[in-house]
Each structure stands twice: as C-alpha cells, then as structure tokens.
C-alpha cells in the first residue's frame, strides 16, 4: 500500500470543455507523440499494421450519443453527439496510488500530479483495476503502467520556451477546449472557468475527488422558444414583386 500526501501545495490539472470539443483527436495524438519520445518508456504499439492494432494511449476520446428528454417546449428533441476526452484526472483521493504494492504510483506533494515511477513498477495492474475511470494502460512491450503525467516534463521544462510549458494536449487543441492550471488557486483561469460554467467532477460518487474538471455542453436546439420573439423580423413589406419594388422605391428615397 502506498500513501497519499495529506495535502498538496498546488492542484494542477485540466478543465475540458465538452461544449467546444469537436472530437478531432488532436490531443490524443499529440500526447502519444510527446510521451512516446519523452517520459519513461515509449508508448508501444502491438500489431500496428495488422489485424488487431492496439497501442498505449494516455488520452483517448470517446463519443456518446445522447437523446435529450422531451419537454413541453421541445417535444421532439434531436439526438446529440458528445465528444468526451478522457485521461487521468489526478484525483486527490487517488485509489490507484493507495492500491500500489511497490510505491511506484505516487501523488506529488508540490503539484498533485499522479505519476508512476517506472523503475519501481512491477506491472501488476492493480492500479488500473482500482481506477474507476479506466485512465491507466499497461504498456505491453515494457510491462509497466503508463498514464497521463500532465506532461510533468514540459510544464517546468527550462529547455522549452515559457509559453510552451503546458501539457502537449493543451498546446495542440485546435478548438481551445482544453485548459491547464492550478485548481487550488480560486483566481486561476481554470478555477474561474469552472465557476462560470458549472464545471463538474467525473463520477463524484466514487469519492476520488478528481482534480480535472469537465465543463458541460451548453443546451442545444432550444429554438422553439424564440419563434414568437423573432416573428416581427419577418413582417412582410410586400407579398408580390410589384409591391416589393414599390417598397424598394420608398426605402431608397430615404437612404
């Protein structure tokens, strides 16, 4: 059993905007590229050109179809598609850490990032079993557990320009749906976003206290309520071409 720190000095994490995520997988591949070349063992791929390709990814995007419930205002709501990027949530009460038999999994005191010290990892897989989010993947070539590092080798890296000291997924996200920051600071941009947009925990009932937050999709397709308000904009100036041309003359006079 491995111990979690009582508290961390900062709570670094991501806020992911589900209203804006178009499901393009840019974050998935940028993460794969950076973390294959950097922290620890490369993220391997088995059968990469064959019948059943499967590799290690620290971040994956799932898409879910959602059927909103009918309401009196919206009796036949259209189905929606929600893109849902998922990676380690760097939980405050991370069950993957406490379950680790070797101390390889740990949560950093200075920033709260949950990491795997690969040299101590025996690949037993207990942490992946304990994580309710399925955010850990055992690398099949290396036999060690891989997970999101929040790009711990980027965010403090003095070899990178300061503006690039953020996780690869955040830097690359074309729609700007991913934000990185310190959730222990209520004035940070990420804390503000969470406050303004009702940022949510993923599966709070699990009691893991995830640091990462999700901004819910804004309501969609709610146009029925606007019909009456907007109707005056279509008040006809004329029904027939001749009447329209008469209106044209009158209006041009005033220009």
């Amino acid at each position: 059993m491995t111990q979690l720190p009582d508290s961390t000095q900062r709570k670094l994490g991501l806020v992911i905007d589900l209203d804006t995520c178009v499901g393009c997988h840019a974050c998935v591949v940028s993460c794969k590229g950076w973390n294959t070349e950097n922290y620890g063992a490369p993220l391997s791929d088995q059968d990469p050109y064959g019948a059943d390709p499967s590799g290690t990814f620290l971040n994956r995007v799932h898409s879910y179809e959602v059927q909103p419930l009918a309401t009196s205002a919206m009796p036949h709501p259209a189905a929606q598609l929600i893109h849902f990027p998922k990676s380690c949530l760097h939980c405050e009460d991370a069950p993957c850490v406490t379950v680790c038999p070797t101390g390889a999994s740990y949560k950093r005191v200075e920033d709260g990032i949950v990491l795997v010290n690969e040299s101590d990892c025996i690949g037993c897989g207990l942490c992946a079993w304990a994580c309710p989010y399925g955010a850990r993947e055992l690398d099949q070539a290396e036999g060690v557990m891989k997970k999101c590092t929040l790009c711990v080798d980027r965010i403090y890296n003095e070899n990178l320009p300061e503006e690039d000291r953020e996780p690869a997924c955040v830097r690359t996200c074309p729609a700007g749906a991913r934000h990185f920051g310190d959730f222990s600071d209520p004035d940070s941009a990420v804390s503000q976003l969470v406050a303004e947009r009702g940022g949510m925990d993923l599966m709070p009932e699990q009691g893991t206290k995830p640091v990462n937050k999700y901004l819910p999709p804004r309501p969609k397709d709610g146009w029925q309520g606007e019909t009456d308000v907007l109707a005056p904009y279509l008040e006809p100036v004329a029904e027939e071409p001749q009447g329209f041309l008469g209106w044209l003359d009158k209006t041009l006079e005033k220009l």
Partner: protein, 942 residues
C-alpha cells in the same frame, strides 16, 4: 508525515534542433516545428507564429512522424514485370526509369501531344505541374478539383471572386451568427476548429446544416438535419423570407453588386437577358440623382435598384427586379420548401428571422474611413455580423454549382461579404472570373500549349471544342456537357480513355491520386479498364506512369513507378500563384524543405518533372544551349519568373533598393530566408484596406504593389452571371456556336444566370421509391483520404467504417448490434457492417470515406480490418448516369462544372447474413514493400 518523492528531472533535453516547415498530412498546410534528435525526427508540433494554425495542430499533423517513417514508403523506381494489377515489379535505376518515361513521352510530344493525359491528384504544386504540362503541349492536364469541390470554387469565383477556405474566411473575431453547411472536416480543418472555439468563447451562435450530426455539427448550438441535395432550396427559402421582409442591405446591393444593372427584359429582343452597356462596354445603371442611365462605376453615381428604361423599343429592368420576380414566388415559401428539405416551415422562418435580427439589429460599425473605386469616401465600415461556411456537402451534387451560388447570393443580399463580422477574402482573392485566365487547349506537335489549361470561360466562344463540335480534352472539360469545368474532370479520364470517347490516349501520367481505389467512382470497373486489352492483347491504355510516395492501390496498375519523397524530405512551395495559405489580414506563402534527407532511392516528384523537362527539351526548362535551366525544384522555386519580377515565392525578392516583397528579381538566398523565418512569409494588409477589398482603393493599390494584379481591378459582385446567360442563349438558338440537340434543354434549364434549385440529375433516372435512402461519406478529422491508414497511430482511431443508419431504418430493418446490411444502388451492391446513429437525417446513411483498403496495399497485413470490414461506397456510384436508351454516356457530374456528383447516391438496404468479409472483396495485390513490423517502440533519443 513526509512521503519520499522520487527524483525527477523536470527539465529534460527536448531536442537538438527545431526545423520549421509545412505540414502535408492534409490539405490545410499548417506550420510545423519538427524537433530533431540525433538527426532524426523526434516530435512534431504546431508552429505558433504560423498564419494558418497559430501553434495548434490536428491529430493528422501530430502523427506525421508515423507517416514519415511508414513501412509503406516506396523505396526505388520500379518497372512492372507481372500483369497490370498484380503488383509485381522490379526495382530499376532512376536513369532507366527516366529514359523509359522519355521513350514514351518524346514521340507523343513530337506527333500528338494530346496523347499524354497528365493528371495530378492532391498536388500542392499545380502552378508548376500545370506549367510543365503546358510546355509539354498536351491539353490534357488538371488536378483533382473536378472530383472534389470545383462547384464551390467556381460558383464563388463567378459570383463574387472567391469562395470559402483558401479564398476566404468568416470574420471569427466579430461574427455573431455562423452557419456551416456540409463541411468536409479535412479542409481548412484547424482554422475552422480554432474559429469555432473563438465563437464559443465569445458566445456567438453556431448553426450546423448537415444530414449528419458529427464533428462541427455536434458542437453547433443548433443542428438542421437537412435532406441531402436540398440545401439550395432551403437557402432560397431563406432568401425568399428575407426579401419579403425587406431584410436586405439595399445600400450594399446598390453600390457593390450588379443588382442595379439594367437587363434587356424583352423576350423578343436579340439581347434578351444581356446587360445594357454603353459604347465602352460598361454596364449601365439608372443614376437616382438624374433618373438617367450612367456607367456603373461613375464617380458619385447612385445606382437605382429599381431603375428601368425603354431604349429603342426594348424594356430594360434591373437584376433586382428579376430577383424579386423569382425569389418572392410562393414556390420558395417555407411552407412549400420545408417538407422537401426535411425542415419544418416554422423553423425555416425562425432561422431567417434570426439572420435578419443579427444582420440588422446587431450591425457593427468600425470607425475606419475608406475610399471606393468610384472615388466616394465612406467614414465608416458597416458590417452585418452573420457569416457562412460550406464545402463538399453542398457542392458534391449535380445541383451543387447553383446551390453554392445561392449561398453566396444569401451572403450578398445581407451585405455580409467583405464587411466586418461577415465573410472576408484572403489574398490573392478577391479575383473575379474575368481576372482569371480563360481555358487554353490548342495543341501543336513539338510546341507548348497556347496558354494555361484551366480557366473561366466567359461564353460559348471559350469552349474547348474542335470545329466539328467534338471535345478537345480527354475529360471533356469545357464542353457543352460541362461548360464551366474550371478544374477539369479527373474522374472521367480513365473511363473516357478506355472508351476512346472522345479519343484514346497513349500515356496516362498520374501523381498522388489513388484512381484504382477510393478516388474513382465505380472502382471495380476502373480496375478493369486499367487492365483491359484490345484485340492484339495490348492494354487499351498503353502506358501508365505513376508517382506516389506510398504503396497505394494505384501503384499496382502502373507500368512505371517514380517514387516520391515524404513531406519532410522535400522542397515545396505554397505559392500565391497557386493555392496559397493567406489569411484575411495578410497574404502569405510558405515552403517545405528537406528537414531530413531520404534514406531510400526516391526523389521529389517536382524535381523529377524538372529532370524530365530537360530531357524532353521543354521550353522554359532548358537554356539556349539545350542544357537544363534548373537543377531541381528548389532552384525553380527561386529562379522561375512567371512574369518579370513575379515568382513562386513573394518574400525576400531583390528589389531596386534591396530586399522586397511581392515584386523583385530572384534572390539566391530566398529559401534560406524562408527557413530562417519559420518556413513562411506574411505580407500584411494595411488597416484601411482590410474590408471592402473588391471596391476599396487602398486594397487594390496594395494588391498591385504586391504583384497580385498589374492594375487595380475593382468589380461588382455578380448575382446575375452574364456568361451563364450566354450559354443559355446559345441553347435557345442564338449565335454560331450551337450545342448538340440532346443538351439544349438541359443547358436552358441549368445555366440560369440567377441562382436556382433543381433536383439532382440522377433522380429522374432512378426509381426513387425503390431507392429511398441517401448515402453519403464524411472524412474523419483524424484521417486524410486513403493516407491515414498506413499510419500506425491514426489507424487505431479509425480502423474500420461501419455504415451508420438512422433510427427509422435501423428499426425498420430490425437490426441489432453486430448486424450487416446489403446496400444496393442502381449500379452495384455492397455488404457491410451496420451501426445505429440517432443524430442523423431519417433517410440518410453514411460512412467514413476511404477507410476501406485493398489487401496488399499500404504495407498492411491481409487481415487488417480496413480490408476485411472496411469498405468503399464507391462501388455503388457510377461515373455515368444510368443509361436512358439514347446510346450516350452521360457523366454523373454537375452539368455546369463537371463536379463529380458523389452525394447524389440513392440506395436501398436489407439485413444480410454476415459474410466472412465486406463485399465486394478483391484478390490481394502483391505488396512491393512487404508489410510493417509486428511492434513499434518509437523513440529516437537515447
């Protein structure tokens, strides 16, 4: 209690060097930082300074390292040794390969240059490949635009001097209502995602119009699940409502469009439907100050939108008058249109009202004064913050040209083109059809063609026809069948060459176009045409040369393979003479350069063409003594001049007083300067020239100075396109050049000078009750056509492609998870895996494009899901319309531009017994490169 923390180096070495070049993982052309370690590519990220992507990068771009190192890369020139289609090759030297090519090409050039058909696919160097074909002398050149989005491009150019994507963009920072129609997610992909992100941040509203709710439509605030092929009717209904309510920008229409231009409106007149012009050929308007006719561009003129005049017994009325006659007609009312489009009348009205509210109640005024082409100064820039974007979904129909025109007309009546908050052009656009070349096609043995191949016809006199009316081009571009086929018809080349209609060719030379698979309609038949033999046992298409970097399906069907490099190993130029990467605020161009050298015996295709040009002695590519003028493509990029002072790259030229942008002499250090600047050049537009570009003197002067035009060329937006009327008049019997009888009625109907909607052409030849379902493809954001599959990372995201069925059909067929369906069109049949999707138009099915692969291609193993479960819809789509018993071959294309009508497809479906693999299946091709490794652990740094 303190817990011991492992020692962790949080500042590890990132890379030895960053090399900045241009991505080629799709057509977007973003700037990339290639991190190098030990001379190898270690990591690729977006370039923050780049005008296109500003640092971000999509999944494809980030997976570039897997493309650059793909096991499917070709390794050396090859000569076919087995039968065509078998994939049996022997490697040969470059000298042997080039001599073989010259052996085929030289006699053609000397006797009948049209016997070479040279078509390039996803080529990003068309101004160069086109010049090569022009100097060779064949009229038969085009790139892939004909089967991609030529409707969009051509409709935009004829209507307002540019379309979407490369031509222009929404004013993302100011627009308040954005409507996006039928978009391919791999065109302009990062800018649209960035723009949507900005709109979400600002709280602007996004309406997605698409039968399928994925991607951009999934995040849209409102989704309009329109029935395919009906977009034009929906748009014209919005136009109907806006005009009826007077919610149109009269000042804008009067000043900047041909709405006030006078038209001959007497059906008995010889010039019926033509503009009234003065002796100088200038279009005339009625000046509201005098009530008299005046040239449209006279200083101070106040064009009357409702002017009319009787001259020599002939009544002339304005274009606006004709628009009122047409679009106020009740046939465009939402009550009539709604049921046809699958959108309620209430909703069409509500969208029209919302457009009206935002355009007119939320208008933007910028305090920038500017002077227009008439010399009139305006103290403000007024904007209507409604903007639009569209791409293949509306254009890949046989009514696509007029649908795209309808959308542009909607933008224009709102006054939201080139105004703040609306749609803005990117230099060198705006550029009207009259400022582009006309098509050239006169071939003379041993000589160059008389000019550039592709262009914008202004009337029947510009068609590429022989005296006897037969087509000059192998693809029948610029004929009565498709008069405005400005990008050619690549999808018809193999079919026509095989049929000998209009004639047979000797050599088919293709670059980067997978015509034996996903880039052709009717794929199985195309493979048969490529392998068909005549009575002597010779191939009907005698010689096929193909250049590609990868082992695509097309490789097996060529006789000679010229292996290209990857995009990180080559010089390229993204030129203002070609398809540039400008932004609304600035012109821009870019290069690629070899950030690594090839480790195989491959050469950049453009350098190979330069070598071939020298061996063939093509003018412009050889010196007077016959020696090669250019060493390679890089040398050409720097030293070629299209006209004095204008070359492929605009930046760092040698002016009279040192370095200059736009115009100037070649500079030997130019490529180094681009490399030092991050691989691109940006040329900013001054503040007072940022909007109203077609009419703004400050912009026109800036554009002339940069070399985009030689003299200011202001123009009016063509809501009414007079060249279309000229073709219509010919069809009515006017003029010497007459269409064949069988096309007269179609030309009269479709070449309408005002936008209209008509049903997709195949509808009248299909039994719509038998085939009630529309079938579409979409490109996934994480794949580019067939290329993504060879990419070990991307194929884990999109490795197979079920057919998605809406709830209505899923339930009707009694399907459950894991079921397969047999899908039948009037042309063919496929049996494929099915999946349910609720967020879908109720009579539309769809799948991802080009995921299905043939066994043996792309260095995949035969069991790859792309080959066993993946499939192409192409098998269901014929390049010809169903025959109607007249013995004629009617192309399944837009009758105006020749755009392949992929999305007109209608099918029926039934539940099927699951076969072992998707059907139809094809025998494996022998891979010239073997298959990839069993495992990847990619790390280049130690």
């Amino acid at each position: 209690m303190s817990i011991p923390m492992p020692n962790l180096d949080t500042s590890p070495h990132v890379s030895d060097e960053v090399r900045k070049t241009t991505c080629y993982m799709c057509a977007c052309r973003c700037g990339i930082n290639v991190h190098m370690k030990d001379g190898k590519v270690a990591y690729i990220e977006g370039n923050r300074d780049h005008p296109v992507n500003k640092g971000v990068l999509c999944a494809k771009g980030s997976a570039g390292i897997m493309q650059h190192n793909a096991p499917s890369r070709l390794r050396a020139p090859m000569r076919r040794v087995g039968p065509r289609g078998s994939g049996q090759f022997e490697e040969i030297s470059w000298d042997e390969a080039l001599e073989q090519a010259v052996g085929w090409l030289k006699p053609i050039r000397e006797t009948a240059p049209e016997k070479l058909a040279f078509f390039t696919g996803r080529d990003q160097s068309q101004s160069f490949t086109g010049l090569w074909a022009q100097q060779f002398g064949t009229p038969n050149f085009a790139a892939h635009g004909g089967f991609c989005s030529v409707n969009m491009a051509t409709a935009g150019i004829y209507t307002m001097g540019g379309a979407f994507w490369e031509f222009g963009a929404p004013d993302w920072e100011r627009t308040k209502l954005f409507m996006i129609f039928g978009v391919a997610e791999d065109h302009d992909s990062n800018p649209i995602k960035m723009g949507l992100g900005r709109l979400k941040e600002r709280g602007a509203k996004v309406i997605g119009v698409n039968p399928i709710r994925t991607g951009y439509n999934a995040v849209a605030d409102e989704w309009v699940g329109i029935t395919p092929g009906m977009d034009g009717l929906f748009i014209l209904s919005l136009v109907h409502e806006l005009m009826r309510a007077g919610k149109i920008d009269l000042e804008y229409l009067a000043r900047f469009t041909n709405a006030p231009v006078l038209l001959d409106s007497d059906p008995k007149s010889d010039d019926y439907g033509m503009f009234l012009r003065d002796d100088d050929g200038k279009m005339l308007v009625i000046d509201r100050r005098t009530g008299k006719p005046a040239p449209f561009d006279q200083k101070g003129v106040q064009p009357d939108l409702n002017g009319h005049i009787r001259m020599a017994g002939v009544t002339h009325v304005t274009v606006m008058n004709q628009m009122a006659e047409r679009y106020l007609d009740a046939k465009y009312s939402p009550d009539v249109v709604g049921p046809q489009c699958g959108i309620s009348a209430e909703r069409i009205r509500r969208i029209a009202a919302e457009i009206a509210r935002v355009a007119f109640d939320e208008a933007i005024e910028l305090d920038h004064s500017w002077t227009d082409f008439r010399g009139d100064t305006h103290d403000k820039m007024v904007g209507r913050p409604v903007s639009f974007h569209a791409m293949r979904g509306i254009s890949a129909h046989s009514n696509g040209f007029q649908t795209c025109r309808s959308l542009h007309m909607l933008q224009i009546i709102l006054g939201s083109v080139e105004t703040p908050g609306g749609f803005r052009f990117k230099p060198p656009y705006p550029k009207p059809s009259t400022a582009h070349p006309k098509p050239h096609f006169t071939a003379t043995p041993g000589k160059p063609l008389d000019g550039p191949h592709l262009g914008y016809p202004q009337g029947p006199e510009d068609l590429a026809l022989h005296e006897d009316g037969s087509p000059i081009r192998i693809d029948k571009a610029f004929t009565w069948e498709h008069p405005l086929s400005a990008h050619g018809l690549m999808h018809m080349v193999i079919s026509n060459a095989h049929a000998g209609d209009p004639y047979k060719v000797d050599t088919l030379f293709l670059y980067m176009a997978n015509m034996a698979w996903n880039s052709s309609m009717n794929t199985r038949s195309v493979m048969e045409m490529l392998t068909d033999t005549d009575e002597n046992g010779d191939y009907v298409i005698p010689n096929i040369i193909y250049s590609d970097a990868y082992s695509s399906e097309m490789v097996a069907y060529a006789d000679l393979i010229l292996p290209d490099t990857t995009y990180l190993e080559r010089h390229d130029c993204i030129s203002l003479l070609d398809r540039p990467i400008s932004e609304p605020e600035a012109a821009a161009d870019a290069i690629r350069w070899p950030v690594v050298e090839p480790d195989r015996d491959v050469r950049g295709f453009q350098s190979v063409l330069i070598d071939l040009a020298a061996r063939l002695g093509l003018p412009g590519f050889v010196n007077d003594d016959g020696s090669a003028k250019f060493e390679d493509y890089a040398d050409y990029i720097v030293n070629h001049q299209r006209k004095p002072g204008i070359g492929p790259l605009a930046g760092w030229r040698m002016g009279e007083n040192g370095l200059s942008d736009g115009r100037g002499e070649p500079n030997e250090a130019q490529i180094d300067s681009y490399i030092a600047n991050g691989g691109f050049g940006v040329f900013h537009i001054p503040d007072d020239a940022q909007f109203y570009k077609p009419w703004n003197n400050a912009y026109q002067d800036w554009a002339v100075n940069l070399g985009l035009y030689d003299a200011p060329a202001p123009y009016l937006f063509d809501i009414y396109v007079e060249p279309l009327r000229k073709f219509q008049r010919a069809a009515e019997g006017h003029g010497d050049r007459q269409p064949p009888e069988h096309l007269r009625e179609r030309l009269k109907h479709t070449m309408d000078p005002l936008p209209l909607w008509y049903a997709p052409l195949s509808d009248e030849r299909e039994d719509l009750e038998e085939f009630p379902v529309h079938a579409l493809t979409q490109r996934p954001m994480a794949m580019y056509h067939s290329w993504g599959t060879q990419n070990a990372w991307l194929r884990q995201i999109h490795g197979h492609n079920p057919l998605y069925l809406p709830t209505h059909w899923w339930e009707k067929l009694g399907l459950s998870d894991g079921d397969w369906v047999r899908v039948t069109s009037s042309h063919g049949e496929i049996t494929v895996p099915a999946a349910h999707m609720a967020a879908l138009n109720e009579n539309t099915v769809w799948t991802w494009n080009a995921i299905g692969k043939r066994k043996g291609a792309w260095a995949l193993e035969d069991g790859a899901p792309e080959a066993t479960k993946g499939f192409l819809l192409n098998h269901l789509i014929h390049e010809l319309l169903p025959p109607k018993g007249d013995g004629l071959r009617w192309a399944n294309s837009d009758p105006i531009t020749g755009q392949a009508a992929w999305f007109d497809l209608r099918v029926k479906m039934e539940k099927a017994e699951a076969p072992a693999e998707s059907q139809p299946g094809f025998a494996p091709i022998k891979s010239p490169v073997g298959t990839g490794p069993d495992q990847l652990r990619w790390k280049v740094g130690k």
